[in-house]
Symmetry: C2
Subunit: 211 residues, 2 copies
């Protein structure tokens, strides 16, 4: 009887999982963290205030994340997943062509500007892909979209033969640098907007790949 009642109680809680206090508390923590980071910076993120905002105890998070850095790693992993999908969408929707490749570059910078909180956590050096397997997988997946696109361009003769990994690294470095300049507000000071700069960068990339 005791075992049965425990079982029933447990099942009730499990059944309530997607309707518990805040529905999906894990997701609520993730979203609130992103909200705080984008508005006040990573350093302003405290578990206590997030918990209070969500109306749960300040230790409730530990049911869903090992610690604070695991929460940040989850934000980063989610960012890489979104980035991968948006890059893939730009590449495919524009016909996997040289122009589509340029659109990927624009999509990359657009992602960073639209999601600075995710982007800063992804590349701010706070979380290391080393530690979180999920994060490492998502990061590698986003990079692979770029590598695959380069290989496709080489196959149809748009890009010259060269180690595609090396192309990918330099191109990623370039758009990443443009994205950083954009979200750090360094372009505003120089009266340049991010999309203009990434278009210019795309032109430079096109030249250096086709020669």
């Amino acid at each position: 009887m005791l075992t049965l009642s425990t079982y029933i109680t447990t099942m009730m809680f499990v059944a309530k999982k997607h309707g518990y206090h805040h529905g999906d508390l894990r997701r609520a923590f993730l979203e609130e963290a992103v909200r705080v980071i984008s508005r006040k910076g990573v350093d302003a993120l405290t578990l206590r205030s997030v918990g209070e905002r969500l109306g749960v105890s300040r230790t409730a998070m530990y049911r869903h994340f090992a610690d604070k850095s695991a929460l940040l790693a989850a934000v980063a992993a989610e960012g890489f997943r979104m980035l991968r999908l948006q890059l893939l969408d730009a590449w495919e929707r524009h016909g996997r062509s040289g122009d589509a490749f340029a659109e990927m570059g624009r999509a990359y910078v657009r992602f960073a500007v639209a999601n600075p909180a995710h982007y800063r956590v992804m590349f701010g050096g706070r979380v290391e892909a080393h530690g979180d397997p999920d994060l490492a997988r998502e990061g590698a997946g986003a990079f692979q979209v770029l590598v695959d696109a380069i290989i496709a361009l080489q196959k149809n003769g748009t890009a010259r033969a060269e180690n595609p990994l090396r192309f990918a690294q330099v191109i990623w470095a370039t758009v990443h640098g443009v994205a950083m300049l954009a979200i750090d507000g360094l372009l505003e000071r120089q009266q340049t907007d991010a999309d203009t700069l990434v278009r210019f960068a795309n032109e430079q990339i096109r030249i250096s790949m086709s020669v």
Copy 2:
């Protein structure tokens, strides 16, 4: 008499300034901060442990820096100053030529790899140039070396006519991205070393500038 004795006491302390407790305490704080950051990361930096390490109270720092972020801003400003000097040295020592420009790129990445603590503070998004005038000036100074070099290459016909600021932004973005890949250890995972990648990036840059 009171005024005179106060004056004398003050002068004694001022005279001792460069021989006080640790000679230059401001410099000692700066160096110890860099040491801690490079060994354990920015998040591991605590004023209390730095003070303890230097044998002073944990509030002694406030005589030399407004707060912790001012200390980090000073680290970043020092980093930009070192970077500017090393870029300028590479450019001038190699004869202000196209090759010298490539050597600047290599010097940039070498700086980041040799001084990852400074580099992370400079670009990690913790300090904003917006707030610290000294930091803003040093950052702009380092960037100007790149702009000036591009203008020189355009004057002697090595680089094509184009807004030098735009060239500078994309090129900076590229070498910065390579530097980030290098110090985040993402290249090791792909069996590429930083200098090989920056040499490849330099070749891409040379092509795109000369066409």
